[in-house]
């Protein structure tokens, strides 16, 4: 399947970017592993209220023409020989079907949504194995003061000024990141939305 842009992650930054890209006339696919937790916070009362239905964000971007793959996620990708361009990606549900796009947007969030994963040795990004900024000394990951800002919260993928992701020390020309998956202090909801909008604007320059 071929798209202009494939957005990986159906949270706030992914949905925002997908909406902006679709409004600009791009053919967009969005893969959302489950629903966004932003929808859960509205509580069960939202169930019968269609405007606040948990599918609302995904339904809204679907109505804008985005092809939404609910409950599916990109699990691996193939890059060019130099490792500077994503050629195609593959999802869990679509199996061996190659998913091609001019640009890919990584909007998978941080630890909670497993956009970033840690073990005792390292911190990594599971889809592209993109370069992650993190503190190598495990003893410095945490602040003993539970309520203080925690250093691990800032771990995330390294990006250049245009929001492109690095892999093996080189910027990948068509792989962008938005939202919490990026290295840096935790963002507010409006900052996450803004991050999605900025990534979409950068991607639109490719077309």
């Amino acid at each position: 399947m071929k798209f202009d842009v494939i957005v990986i992650g159906g949270g706030l930054s992914g949905c925002t970017a997908a909406a902006v890209l679709a409004e600009a006339g791009r053919k967009v696919a969005l893969f959302s592993e489950g629903l966004s937790l932003h929808d859960a916070s509205q509580g069960p009362a939202s169930h019968k209220d269609q405007s606040r239905h948990p599918y609302s964000a995904l339904a809204a971007i679907s109505a804008k023409g985005v092809t939404v793959f609910r409950g599916d996620s990109i699990i691996r990708a193939e890059l060019s020989q130099e490792g500077t361009k994503v050629l195609r990606a593959f999802s869990r549900n679509l199996g061996n079907e190659p998913l091609e796009a001019a640009a890919f947007l990584l909007a998978t969030g941080k630890f909670f949504s497993r956009g970033i994963i840690s073990n005792m040795e390292k911190v990594f990004e599971p889809v592209f194995d993109a370069d992650v900024e993190f503190e190598p000394d495990h003893s410095k990951w945490f602040n003993p003061d539970f309520f203080a800002a925690q250093p691990f919260e800032s771990f995330g993928v390294k990006t250049d000024a245009a929001g492109r992701v690095f892999k093996g020390g080189k910027a990948v020309e068509n792989l962008y990141a938005a939202g919490q998956v990026k290295a840096g202090a935790p963002m507010s909801d409006s900052e996450i939305e803004d991050s999605g909008r900025k990534a979409a604007a950068a991607i639109l320059k490719l077309f």
Binding site: G34, A40, H47, K48, P54, E97
Partner: protein, 415 residues
């Protein structure tokens, strides 16, 4: 993913976020149902300690898997509930009138086979269609009087295939296998014929499996898990003996054989799973790459509203079907929001479930009626879906025809 998991359904990954609770179609209409989180991962932790904690309200689970689609953590909530029903629930016995009903509804092969005896099909169809018979079934074994039984065909698809089509398949150098399913075999052989027409137009011959039994989904959900597993073993063995892809037309049979055989019935299928797929899953990449070219009728016109059946949604394959439908010139496609129709196989046929079934389906029915009204009358209109029980439910509830995408494709092909 996580180290030291003890469960097979990712129990430990549940974050208690309640997204599954929000999307559960049963919970929205039935407060007796604890909902997927409580019935699934929450309840499972208690059941592991003591099976006494098993809650009989788990019978309300539709097994629609919409909880699994919503889960951001990959917890197989639906599988967990199905497994609990098999492990801790009372095993069904053909006892009493409701037991007889459940067995009859679940035994698609036996009932379909009986109905295919030449004299019986017209009698059965005639009788089951009458108000008197419906009242009797409602009052005795508890099949809801509103329901219309799918009619039985006087000739099985398998019989037609052997007599009329098998010889012609020999002229093709490559063949694919066809798992036709009960609906195409006993109720609506036309669907099987459409499949053969499409595959032949693609340049492939069709062969049937050495032995095909009902996939067992109806047995599993009615408490006859051991029998479902026996049938599953027969199907998997037949698939192992066959070479190449095994194509299907029903989303629920496909989901059952691919996902529920290993996860719920404990039948390993890793060696053959990737070969079991819907026709459109196989066809779309070949059409998109130009490997297969189809010729379509000039002047074909149709408006289609696509309904993503629950198990289709869980497999995530709707884009393959939509991709194929979009290639048909003259076909106007609208895609509806994925909502459950409420029938859940045999669930909605039981009189005690009728009200829940219709209440769940209402959101979908409203969208279908809207699409029908918007389509006007200048061009034929149909709802398309891969699930036969969705078809019965939508046709009964809206009066609007529902067609399998394979039949739409067959109808659009140039002769």
């Amino acid at each position: 993913m996580q180290e030291n998991n003890i469960s097979t359904a990712n129990l430990e990954q549940c974050l208690k976020c309640n997204l599954c609770t929000l999307v559960c179609p049963m919970l929205a209409v039935n407060e007796q149902y604890p909902g997927p989180k409580k019935a699934g991962p929450d309840g499972e932790r208690y059941r592991i300690k003591d099976p006494e904690y098993y809650d009989y309200a788990l019978k309300y689970c539709l097994n629609c898997k919409r909880c699994e689609v919503a889960c951001p953590s990959g917890v197989k909530i639906g599988d967990m509930i199905q497994t609990a029903r098999i492990k801790y629930g009372s095993q069904a016995r053909i006892r009493g009138l409701h037991g007889l009903r459940d067995w009859t509804l679940a035994s698609t092969d036996f009932v379909g086979g009986m109905a295919a005896v030449p004299v019986i099909a017209p009698i059965a169809n005639g009788m089951l269609g009458t108000g008197a018979a419906k009242a009797v079934l409602h009052g005795t074994i508890g099949v809801d009087r509103h329901r219309t039984f799918p009619s039985y065909s006087p000739q099985k698809f398998e019989t037609w295939f052997r007599k009329e089509a098998a010889a012609a398949q020999e002229s093709f150098s490559s063949k694919i296998n066809f798992f036709h399913g009960c609906y195409a075999n006993y109720n609506y052989p036309r669907l099987g014929k459409d499949f053969v027409k499409v595959v032949n137009a693609c340049g492939y011959g069709v062969s049937l499996l050495e032995r095909e039994k009902c996939c067992g989904i109806a047995l599993m959900s009615n408490g006859f898990a051991a029998k479902a597993a026996r049938q599953g073993r027969i199907n998997l063995n037949s698939i192992r003996k066959a070479e190449g892809p095994v194509l299907t037309v029903s989303s629920s049979c496909t989901h059952m054989m691919r996902e529920e055989y290993p996860e719920v019935l404990g039948l390993p299928n890793e060696d053959v799973k990737d070969r079991i797929m819907l026709l459109t899953r196989w066809l779309y990449p070949k059409l998109a790459s130009g490997e297969i070219k189809l010729r379509f009728k000039e002047g074909f016109r149709m408006k289609v509203a696509y309904h993503t059946a629950c198990h289709m949604q869980r497999m995530g394959w709707q884009e393959f079907t939509l991709g194929v439908l979009r290639m048909i010139p003259g076909l106007e496609l609208t895609v509806m929001e994925p909502n459950c129709c409420g029938i859940s196989g045999t669930f909605g046929f039981k009189k005690e479930n009728y009200e829940y079934s219709q209440a769940i389906g209402e959101t979908l029915f409203a969208e279908i009626r809207e699409a029908r009204a918007a389509a006007g009358d200048s061009v034929p209109f149909a709802v398309a879906t891969e699930c036969e029980t969705c078809k019965w439910q939508i046709e009964m509830s809206t009066g609007i025809p529902v067609v399998n995408p394979v039949s739409i494709l067959a109808g659009a092909l140039a002769d």
